[in-house]
C-alpha cells in the first residue's frame, strides 16, 4: 500500500526530511538528535570538575595546564526520539462519499511514519480500533504499518480517547506526539486529548484535516437531511446563502479557538485540506512550523 501511495520520487523526497524537536529529549538508542543524556556525542556539552570515577581519558589536560585544576569534558549524546502518531479513526474521518479524508489521513500518517522511521526514530502508533499502541523501528516497517491501516474500521469517539490514554501511558520516554484528526468535536474534548499527551511531557503537533463535506456540508444543494456519521443524528438544513455565510464563520471561529487552545497549551497546530498534496503539506506547512526539516 505504501508503494502504491507514494512514488519512488516522493519516497526519496520523504527520506530527505527529518522530524524536528523543539527541545532535547532522551531517546532509547543512538540516533540523530542531541539527547539530554551526556555521553559520547560530538557536541560539547560542558566542563565539570573531575570526580573520582570519571574516565581519565575525558580529563582536559589543556585546562589542567592553565589552571592546575582537573576538569573533564562532557558531550551531549545523540539519540533517536520517540515519535507517537495518533490517528483519529472515528466515523467522521470516513464520512466523505469517496473517503477522501480517510485516504488523506492514511497518506499523512504513512508519510510521517516513514520520515521518522527513515530517521531511525522509534515510531509508536495509536490507531484506535486496530492497535492501541504499537512501536516500529526501521524504514521497512512502514509496510507493516500500511497493512495495519487497511484493517481500520470506524470507532466511536470514546474509543479513541481511551486508546490515547492507554497508548500514552505505555510510552517509556517522552517524545513527539502528532495527532491527526478533523477536530470536529468540542474544545473540551480537544483539551482533554491534549491533556493526556501533555501529561507524558510530549511535544504535541495537532494536524487538523478537513474534507469537502466539512467545508460545505450541503455540497451546493439547497436542502438536505444531514446524518451525523458518528451518532446517526439527523438534521434538516436549508442551504441558503445565509446558512453558507454563517457556517463558514462558525467553522473559522472553531478553528481559531483550536489554534488559541493549541498556543495556550504549547501545541503546534497545523491545518490542511484534503485537496492539498501530502508532500506539499509536509514540506511547506509542517516545515514552516518547525515540525519537520
Amino acid at each position: 500500500m505504501f508503494s502504491e501511495i507514494f512514488t519512488p520520487q516522493q519516497v526519496a523526497q520523504l527520506e530527505l526530511l527529518t522530524i524536528n524537536t523543539k527541545r532535547s529529549l532522551i531517546g532509547q538508542r543512538y540516533g540523530n538528535h542531541t539527547s539530554l543524556k551526556r555521553g559520547h556525542g560530538i557536541e560539547f556539552a560542558e566542563y565539570r570538575r573531575y570526580q573520582p570515577g570519571d574516565d581519565p581519558r575525558h580529563i582536559d589536560w589543556g585546562v589542567y595546564a592553565r589552571s592546575d585544576k582537573m576538569y573533564v569534558k562532557t558531550f551531549q549524546e545523540e539519540q533517536n526520539i520517540s515519535v507517537f502518531l495518533i490517528l483519529d479513526t472515528t466515523s467522521s474521518m470516513f464520512a466523505e462519499a469517496d473517503q477522501a479524508k480517510w485516504r488523506y489521513a492514511q497518506e499523512l500518517l504513512l508519510a510521517l511514519a516513514y520520515i521518522a522511521l527513515a530517521g531511525q526514530e522509534t515510531v509508536t502508533v495509536c490507531i484506535p480500533g486496530v492497535v492501541t499502541s504499537f512501536s516500529f523501528n526501521g524504514a521497512r516497517s512502514v509496510y507493516h504499518l500500511s497493512k495495519l491501516l487497511q484493517e481500520v474500521k470506524p470507532v466511536q469517539p470514546p474509543v479513541v480517547t481511551k486508546a490515547m490514554q492507554v497508548a500514552t501511558g505505555a510510552l517509556k520516554v517522552p517524545g513527539i506526539a502528532i495527532l491527526i484528526s478533523d477536530f470536529l468535536y468540542s474544545l473540551d474534548e480537544v483539551m482533554h486529548h491534549f491533556g493526556i499527551l501533555l501529561a507524558k511531557n510530549l511535544q504535541i503537533t495537532a494536524i487538523q484535516m478537513l474534507g469537502p463535506h466539512d467545508v460545505d456540508p450541503l455540497q451546493g444543494g439547497a436542502e438536505a437531511i444531514l446524518v451525523d456519521s458518528e451518532t446517526g443524528e439527523e438534521v434538516t438544513l436549508n442551504g441558503d446563502r445565509e446558512f453558507q455565510k454563517r457556517y463558514q464563520l462558525k467553522l473559522q471561529q472553531h478553528q481559531e479557538a483550536l489554534r488559541n487552545l493549541a498556543t495556550h497549551r504549547s501545541v503546534t497546530f497545523a491545518f490542511t485540506g484534503v485537496d492539498q498534496p501530502v508532500i506539499t503539506f509536509l514540506t511547506q506547512r509542517l516545515s514552516s512550523l518547525g515540525v519537520i526539516s
Binding site: 466515523s91 467522521s92 474521518m93 464520512a95 466523505e96 479524508k101 478533523d182 470536529l184 468535536y185 468540542s186 474534507g211 463535506h213 466539512d214 456540508p217 450541503l218 455540497q219 451546493g220 444543494g221 439547497a222 436542502e223 438536505a224 437531511i225 444531514l226 446524518v227 451525523d228 456519521s229 458518528e230 451518532t231 443524528e233 439527523e234 438534521v235 434538516t236 438544513l237 436549508n238 442551504g239 441558503d240 446563502r241 446558512f243 453558507q244 454563517r246 457556517y247 462558525k250 467553522l251 472553531h254
Partner: protein, 617 residues
C-alpha cells in the same frame, strides 16, 4: 355508524384498485422529490444550531402538502369508483308504462296500471332517501315530478297516473332516459318482460314486471269503417280467448240536443268469433238522419273473459258526409276530368288558396303541377311537380320510354306501362322516403313512399285529364292511384287518437261528450285525447268528431309482449351513467379541478422559490 357505512356505494368498484397504486406513486414521488436528500456528514457538531428552524419549517410544510395531495388522490379514486351515498344520493327513475295494455284487469280485480302504481309506491317506501323521479311513457315520455319533489309529491305523481290510449313506447323511453339523464337505477313498471333474461342481468335498468299470467283473454274492436256512399258499417273484432265466443254487438245513436246527449239503442246482434281470431262484421246501414253512433261489444253468456273494457267501444261521427280530396291546381276539375269520378268528392283549390289555408280536413290531396312547401298530413298525389325541397326534378331529358316498373305494387300490378304513352315526361331524384315505382330510359318517373303515416305518390308524367274508356290503360292506373291513396280515408268516420291533433283545429274550444251512457254531458278536462265524441267550438261553427283507439297488439293483453333492450344499449347507457351519475360526480369533478389548480399553483410557487434560492446560494 354501520348504517352510514352501508349507505356508501361504488358504481365502479374496480376503480378502488387505483388507490393502492396512487398511494404508492404519491409516496414514491415524495420520497424521490419532496424529501430532502439525505447526506451523511462527518459531524453535526458545527451544524446543529442551523438545523432547528429549517427542520421545524419542513415538519410543518411536508404534511400539509402531502395530506392535501392525499385528499386529492382519495377524491380522484372516489370519482373513478363512482362513489355515492345510497339512499342519500341515489337517483332512481321510476318509469311507469301507461300504455293501453296496462288498462287490462289482473286477477286481483285491479288494472295492471293500478298494480304497477302499488308496486312503485312499495318500492318507494322501501328505499328512503335519494331522489326519485317518476315518468310516464305514453303518449310521450313525460316526467310527472319536478326537481326537488318531496316523497309525498312523488307518491301523488304515481297515484295520478292514468292509462293512455296509445301503443307501447317503453324501449324508446328507457333508451332516452338512460342516455340523457344521470341515474343510478331505472326501474320499469310494465306488463312486459325481457326478450332475453341475460340482457337484464347486471343492468341498472330493472324491470318490475306486473303479473300478466292469465288464462283469460280479451275481446275488442280492431277497426270500424262506414262507407260514405251507403253508410254501411263494418267493424273488426278480436277474440284472444282460448274458446269460441258469442259477442253481443250493440249500436247506439247519440242525439245531440244542446248540452244533453241522450243515447238510444238502434239495433244489436250476436256474432260468433273463433278462439284467438279476428272477424270482420257487417253491422248494416246506419240511419241517414243520424250522425253520431256508439257501437258496444260485450261477451254474451258470461263465457270467456274480457280483460280490457276500454277497447269494447267504437265511436262514429258522420257529421261530414264525406271528406273531400283536395285538388290543388290551376285548372278546373272538368279540365282534369275529375268531375266524371262521382264516387269521390273533390274540392278544387288554387295554389294560392292552399297556401293560405292548409285544408287539414281532407281525405287526401292531389297536387297538379304544383308542390307544397311540405307534405300535408294526408295522403298525397303529386303530378309533375316542379323541383322543390321535397322532390328534386331533373332537367327534361327528351323522349323516353318506360323501361321497368314495380310489378308487385298494387298501383302498377295490372298495368303494362310499355303500352302507355307518357306525355311531358320529367324524372326525379329518388328521395330518402320513397322508392322507385316507374323507371324510364332517362330516369325515375314515378315514386311511391310513406312520410309518417301518410302515403305519397309522385309522377313525372301527366295522368289527367281522366278520359275513362277512351284511354283505358291510363284510366285504370289513375283509378288505382285514387283508390290506393284515398279510398280508405274516405270510408273512415272517426279519427284515431294519434291523429286528432293533426286533424282538429287547435284554436277551437274542445270538450268531450261525457261517456255516461244515458245522458252524456260536456267534459272539458282534456289532458290527452281518448276515445269518445268531442265537440269543437270554432269561431261560429260547432263540429263533432269521433275518436277511437285500435291496436291489435295492445288488445292482445293475455300475451306478454317482449321488451327488447339490446345488451349493447344497456352497456352503453351504463357507461354514460357511470360517467355522469352519482351524487358527487359533478361536484367531485369541480372540487378536483379546484384542488389540482391549487396544487399546481403551490407547486409552481415552490419551484420558483427553490430556483431563486439555488441561484442566490
Amino acid at each position: 355508524m354501520v348504517s352510514w357505512l352501508s349507505s356508501l356505494s361504488f358504481g365502479s368498484p374496480w376503480g378502488l384498485l387505483a388507490l393502492p397504486f396512487g398511494l404508492g406513486a404519491l409516496l414514491f414521488v415524495y420520497r424521490q422529490q419532496n424529501n430532502a436528500k439525505r447526506l451523511v456528514v462527518p459531524s453535526l457538531f458545527l451544524l446543529r444550531e442551523f438545523a432547528a428552524p429549517a427542520y421545524a419549517r419542513r415538519r410543518l410544510f411536508f404534511p400539509l402538502r402531502f395530506f392535501f395531495e392525499l385528499l386529492l388522490l382519495f377524491l380522484l379514486v372516489a370519482g373513478i369508483a363512482a362513489f355515492s351515498f345510497q339512499g342519500v344520493g341515489k337517483t332512481r327513475l321510476f318509469v311507469l308504462d301507461n300504455s293501453f295494455s296496462m288498462g287490462a284487469f289482473t286477477r286481483s280485480g285491479i288494472t295492471r296500471l293500478e298494480q304497477a302504481k302499488q308496486d312503485a309506491l312499495l318500492e318507494l317506501s322501501a328505499n328512503h332517501g335519494g331522489i326519485t323521479r317518476v315518468f310516464k311513457t305514453n303518449p310521450a315520455l313525460v316526467e310527472l315530478t319536478r326537481e326537488g319533489s318531496s316523497s309525498a309529491e312523488v307518491e301523488d305523481a304515481i297515484r295520478s297516473m292514468e292509462i293512455s290510449f296509445s301503443g307501447d313506447l317503453l324501449e324508446q323511453a328507457v333508451r332516452r332516459l338512460a342516455s340523457s339523464l344521470p341515474a343510478d337505477e331505472i326501474t320499469l313498471f310494465s306488463d312486459r318482460s325481457y326478450a332475453q333474461v341475460s340482457s337484464a342481468q347486471d343492468s341498472f335498468v330493472k324491470l318490475q314486471g306486473v303479473a300478466t299470467q292469465s288464462v283469460d283473454g280479451n275481446v275488442g274492436f280492431l277497426d270500424a269503417r262506414v262507407s260514405h256512399q251507403d253508410r254501411s258499417l263494418t267493424v273488426t273484432v278480436v277474440n284472444t280467448n282460448k274458446t269460441e265466443l258469442n259477442l253481443l254487438l250493440q249500436i247506439f245513436t247519440i242525439l245531440v240536443e244542446g248540452n244533453a246527449f241522450p243515447e238510444v239503442l238502434l239495433r244489436q246482434m250476436v256474432v260468433s268469433v273463433a278462439p284467438d281470431a279476428t272477424k270482420q262484421v257487417e253491422l248494416g246501414v246506419l240511419p241517414a238522419e243520424m250522425n253520431y253512433f256508439r257501437v258496444a261489444l260485450s261477451v254474451k253468456d258470461d263465457v270467456g273473459a274480457n280483460l280490457h273494457p276500454d277497447d269494447d267501444t267504437v265511436w262514429l261521427a258522420l257529421e261530414d258526409k264525406q271528406l273531400p280530396i283536395v285538388v290543388v291546381t290551376q285548372k278546373s276539375l272538368s279540365e282534369l276530368g275529375l268531375d266524371t269520378l262521382r264516387s269521390y268528392l273533390f274540392e278544387r283549390v288554387t295554389p294560392e288558396q292552399f297556401a293560405q289555408n292548409s285544408f287539414t280536413r281532407a281525405a287526401g290531396y292531389i297536387f297538379h303541377r304544383v308542390v307544397p312547401p311540405k307534405l300535408p298530413p294526408g295522403s298525397s298525389l303529386l303530378i309533375m311537380p316542379p323541383s322543390s325541397d321535397i322532390l328534386e326534378v331533373r332537367d327534361m331529358p327528351g323522349p323516353a320510354v318506360v323501361s321497368s316498373w314495380t310489378e308487385n305494387h298494387p298501383l302498377t300490378r295490372y298495368v303494362r306501362f310499355q303500352d302507355l304513352t307518357l306525355q311531358f315526361l320529367s324524372v326525379f331524384e329518388v328521395p330518402y322516403w320513397a322508392q322507385p315505382l316507374i323507371t324510364t330510359t332517362k330516369g325515375t318517373a314515378g315514386i311511391v313512399g310513406t312520410v309518417g303515416d301518410v302515403k305519397a305518390v309522385a309522377l313525372g308524367f301527366e295522368v289527367f285529364p281522366f278520359q275513362g274508356k277512351q284511354a283505358p290503360l291510363m284510366s285504370i292506373f289513375t283509378l288505382n292511384l285514387l283508390s290506393w291513396l284515398f279510398a280508405e280515408e274516405q270510408s273512415v268516420s272517426h279519427l284515431l287518437v294519434e291523429h286528432v291533433r293533426e286533424r282538429v283545429g287547435v284554436n277551437g274550444e274542445i270538450s268531450y261528450l261525457s261517456t255516461d251512457e244515458q245522458t252524456m254531458g260536456l267534459d272539458n278536462n282534456i289532458e290527452e285525447f281518448r276515445p269518445g265524441l268531442i265537440r269543437v267550438n270554432e269561431q261560429n261553427s260547432t263540429k263533432h268528431y269521433a275518436i277511437n283507439f285500435f291496436s291489435g297488439e295492445e288488445s292482445r293483453v293475455s300475451e306478454q309482449s317482449p321488451l327488447f333492450l339490446d345488451k349493447l344499449d344497456i352497456v352503453k347507457t351504463e357507461k354514460q351513467q357511470a360517467k355522469t351519475s352519482g351524487l358527487l360526480s359533478q361536484e367531485l369533478a369541480l372540487l378536483l379541478l379546484t384542488l389540482v389548480t391549487v396544487d399546481l399553483i403551490i407547486l409552481s410557487i415552490l419551484s420558483v422559490l427553490q430556483r431563486l434560492r439555488r441561484s442566490t446560494s
